[in-house]
Amino acid sequence: MSGSRMKLELTRVVQGRSRLGVLKGLGKTGQHSLEVPGCLLYTHLGTVPHLTQDTLHTLSPLPCVTQVNLSNIAEHRDVLEEFKDGFRKFAGLHDTVLYCSLHDPAAPCPTGYTTNKTVSVWGSGGRIELTVAKFMALQKTVQADWYQSMADGETWQNTTSRKRVRKSVDRTLAHLDECLLVHQSSQELKGVEVFGVVEGGDILEERIRSARETAKRPVAGFCLDGLQTGSVDQALRIQLTSAVIKELPEYKPRLMQGVGRPDEVLDCVDAGVDLFEGFFPFQVTERGCALSFNFDISPDPERAVLDLNEEDPAGGTQENGDVNLEDQTQMTHFEINLKDTRYQDDFRPLVNGCGCYCCRNHKRAYLHHLLVTNELLAGVLLMIHNTAHYHSFFGALREALANDKLDLLTRRVLGGRSKQKE
């Protein structure tokens, strides 16, 4: 995109694949930057779930890019049109870069409603059908700093036919071209960045075709769609991702949609992905769990003793981390289930050494009580901790890349706590 301010400055590329760097020139004034690999700040209509400003700003630093999605926003279009000054101001957002995706990565939507000319999103009042014209009209009222182009990604069920996958690639390219046409002739969208969306389901040839074609368009970066957690198994995801990335320019960022589990993130980073949607902490919060996985790879032996982070998580986890394809809400071994009675009189913080508001002020026993009594504060405190923990993980990830320790980090994160009695 001529005149695009978004620039990816790479400081390291490891084994020709994983990258460390900074995405610069973000925002209307181009003043913001985001370290990569990095994740976005996940929101519902601009609000980090459960949090108000006071609670949100106990988190520091916050990722500088806030994600909103059209599933939440579309039904408010006429309100935004009357407001005129864009979504950021409407929501009273802090100084942040605004990224607008199509769907909510934590809320998979029903399939079967996509047509050649339309995609659908689901608001609180039901289905809203979007043509490119409507999609672009929305983008003009939202006035995000960057958005993903309209895309047909309904290929994640393993019953999707080859024909259907091909259609999704064709449609998505057609939508992209139409979006760009409108974009380039819109005064309101001057300076706003567009990401192209790579589709192709689980079919290698289609993935490559989609990547090649999308890369020809003047986009600032690429979203990888249809590979979300539960849609394909990890090995296939990596195979497809690697193939896609070979077709994409090195100097433009790659955002993987719908992937948030730490192990999957690590694999994607290893394959060359730069950005992730930060919805995983929210999912963990909603099941009453706290992220507790270890990402500390400092060599201090005393630290290793402190990290004797006790037991395996209570109940319901699978041994090798296979995800139930149907159910993203299932607990992982990266978290502890605070509803378990073992935490009833556990007066330790959620995670030893975590500096978040929750861990500085409260104990597991209190969180357990809040969850058992269905108190709203549980969501607030867990969201704070889970967000802090997750974003710290990304910090550790970047540091590991800087010091060539990605393998060690991966082993530590995957190791499971029982193995940490080293």
């Binding site: 409407f90 009833q344 009580h369 009594t373």
Partner: protein, 417 residues
């Protein structure tokens, strides 16, 4: 334990004539400093000094039933200027139970609240959960809704739990009868409450750290109330609550019992009117001589999207606010109003629970600010004028003023314009 009384250096000649500083006990868990008394009404502005911090009265105390204030962190609550909030003995006694809370350094430690806590005895649940309870001289038998087990809540047990909770103010276990009940049950309950008060006083293990308040009962019967007042004021307690009201009774009866009670309660001890929280009720009952109030209404109604404002309330979820880009109240200084519009909150209710938290914060701020303004006006000797302005703002016209409020205020020399 008697309360320590201090008389402020104000212009009230009666007070300066008295000039008595009675320090009855070396370690008193409660000191009431009367800063100002309204020369027209029965209102007072005081500093209530409790073990954890000083509380300015009149005060509204938000209710955090289960050791949390519905989605608000303790930092946020502190930031709103709250110095005292409530926990509930019945609920916390069930879950997580007194032993665990004791292990956690009391309710303060458990919820990490550094300021004051008041715990209710569990008595009110007798009325609100009446299907599950049976009252005898021994105590109240509850059937736990969680595991069906039968629990006896006696005065001793209630105080024991409250001792474990470590609240700054504890309430006696009273025999609570719905204010709509009449007949001999009311008298029985009143007498029993006196006997239970004595048992509670005996059972209190921490009189030098925890203040036990008596609760005046007697229903809507003036004679019974008076009898209860006569008896209970003979007990050496640091404060009194006016109980058995704020149920479904007629407001005309309600205010008469309130003013009767304050007429016969000692000046030097705080008066806590339980379960009152509507703005009009607060202002009127301050005029009738009450210092402390609690109510779930502001926080509960917030979760339904109802925002409290000086002219009533605003149903944020209602369609008419979808495109209203003003804050809830443009004069309000709370975090919600400083950053968000009605339109955004309206939209947010469809997407995230945080919408409720925004309104909860606003409503608590509204209540605390209201009480601050009331207090300030008493201190500055202009409380009657405050009442006039308040009522004018709250009601579109004079003929919409609730007649009970008009009567109640008239009884303390305020004729509403």
């Amino acid at each position: 334990m008697a309360a320590t009384i201090e008389c402020g250096t104000d212009t009230n000649t009666l007070v300066s004539n008295m000039s008595v500083k009675k320090a009855v006990e070396a370690t008193s868990a409660l000191t009431l400093r009367i800063l100002a008394e309204c020369p027209v009404t029965k209102a007072r502005a005081c500093d209530l000094i409790l073990p954890h911090s000083s509380v300015s009265t009149p005060v509204f105390m938000p209710v955090g039933t289960q050791g949390t204030l519905k989605g608000i962190t303790v930092d946020q609550l502190e930031g709103l200027g709250c110095h005292i909030c409530l926990g509930n003995t019945y609920h916390l006694g069930m879950r997580p139970g007194p032993d665990l809370i004791e292990k956690a350094n009391g309710l303060h430690g458990f919820m990490n609240w550094k300021r004051n806590l008041l715990t209710d005895s569990g008595g009110f649940q007798m009325v609100s959960l009446v299907e599950l309870s049976e009252v005898t001289e021994e105590g109240v038998k509850f059937r736990s809704p969680y595991d069906g087990k039968e629990i006896l809540l006696s005065p001793e047990k209630s105080i024991s739990i409250q001792n474990s909770l470590g609240s700054d103010i504890m309430m006696q276990l009273d025999d609570v009868v719905s204010s709509t009940v009449t007949g001999p049950r009311v008298e029985e309950a009143m007498h029993r409450s006196i006997r239970w008060l004595d048992r509670c006083i005996s059972a209190n293990k921490n009189p030098d750290k925890q203040n036990l308040f008596a609760i005046i009962q007697g229903g809507l019967n003036a004679d019974l109330r008076k009898a209860c007042l006569d008896e209970m004021t003979q007990r050496n307690v640091p404060g009194f609550a006016i109980g058995g009201l704020s149920g479904g009774e007629e407001k005309d009866d309600f205010w008469r019992m309130v003013t009767l009670s304050t007429d016969h309660l000692p000046r030097e001890k705080p008066r806590y009117l339980m379960g009152v929280g509507y703005a009009v009720d607060l202002v009127v009952c301050v005029a009738l001589g009450c210092d402390m109030f609690d109510c779930v209404f502001p926080t509960r109604t917030a979760r339904f999207g109802s925002a409290l404002v000086p002219w009533g309330s605003l149903q944020v979820k209602h369609k008419q606010y979808a495109k209203d880009f003003q804050p809830i109240d443009s004069d309000c200084q709370c975090p919600t109003c400083k950053r968000h519009s009605r339109a955004y909150l309206h939209a947010l209710f469809k997407s995230d629970t945080a919408a409720m938290h925004h309104i909860t914060i606003h409503n608590i701020s509204y209540q605390l600010t209201l009480m601050n303004s009331v207090r300030q006006s008493i201190v500055e000797g202009r409380f009657p004028q405050f009442i006039q302005t308040f009522m004018k703002r709250m009601f579109p016209s004079r003929d919409q003023y609730p007649s009970w409020a008009v009567d109640a205020l008239a009884s303390v020399n305020v004729t509403l314009e």
